[in-house]
Amino acid sequence: MELDNIEKLLEKYFEATTTVAEEKTLQTYFSQESVATHLEQYRPMFSYFSNAKEERYTKQVPLKPRKNYYRWISVAAVAVLTFGIYFGNEYQEKKQAEYAYAETKKAFELLAENFGKGTEKVAYLQEFEIAKQKIYNNK
């Protein structure tokens, strides 16, 4: 009697006209230890379905706070980098200018010193001039 019922349900099942409750009946029938031999071939189907329902999503449910956090950090990092490059460059330029200034100053000082030496030597010429004047005046 029960087997008869199951067979009918199976037929309906394959025509997709069973209700969820009827399908549950089938499910429980096929989860028994003993199943009529000619129905044995359907057993994998039902045990597979009930097995498939056991599968779980085991990963943590990820919610977003971290994501935003990273975004802002990257924005900050980019800002720091641009400022760094900009001001770094400026600083570098300033340093270079200072160096160039010091070098030129040194060069000018060298020049001035040598000029000084030159004028010292020229000062002797003055002696000649004085002597010459004396000679002319005595005439």
């Binding site: 994998p44 379905f49 779980r56 999503y57 449910v61 919610l63």
Partner: protein, 169 residues
């Protein structure tokens, strides 16, 4: 909606999302990624969530669309899917030789089904949704759902019978 509230809403059906994703994408990693993506999307919409009548149905539809998109883009690039399928088949073949596990057989039969049939079978025989819900989720007419479901079940039966006969012969 606060985080705890959101989790309370989402927890009861997150496994269903995952199982649907896995049914369609086959690979476990892919399905996990998809589920994560869907949950994040839901969370970003959590302001509007209170307005949805049925968050679960909404999430299931999202999952379906997301996975079908993934499959499409993969077919276009034609790379990853082939790879994961190959891997899956290999392990299942091995196990099948070792234990003749009928569950593995079923898994392979299910993998061969067209997507629409996979989804209907998953929603009905695994998750036990009512027909009206399936219609809503998959955006199908009731008759179409019935026909698809019947076809899917018959295909599975046919494949199983084949296997059963091989087993005897």
């Amino acid at each position: 909606m606060k985080q705890a509230e959101f989790l309370n809403v989402v927890m009861p059906f997150k496994d269903k999302l995952f199982r649907l994703a896995k049914r369609l994408l086959v690979s476990r990693e892919e399905a996990e990624d998809a589920t994560q993506e869907i949950l994040l999307k839901l969370w970003s919409k959590n302001e509007a969530m209170e307005e949805y009548k049925n968050v679960e149905a909404f999430a299931m539809t999202m999952t379906k669309n997301f996975c079908l998109d993934r499959l499409k883009s993969k077919q276009a690039s034609n790379l990853k899917l082939v790879h994961s399928n190959y891997e899956d088949e290999k392990t299942s073949l091995q196990r099948q030789l070792e234990t003749e596990d009928s569950i593995v057989w079923m898994e392979r039969i299910m993998e061969e089904l067209p997507e629409q049939q996979k989804m209907v079978l998953q929603l009905r025989d695994v998750e036990q949704y009512e027909f009206e819900e399936i219609c809503e989720l998959l955006d199908m007419k009731p008759t179409a759902v019935r026909v698809t479901l019947s076809r899917a079940r018959k295909t599975v039966r046919e494949e199983l019978t084949k296997k059963h006969n091989y087993g005897i012969g």
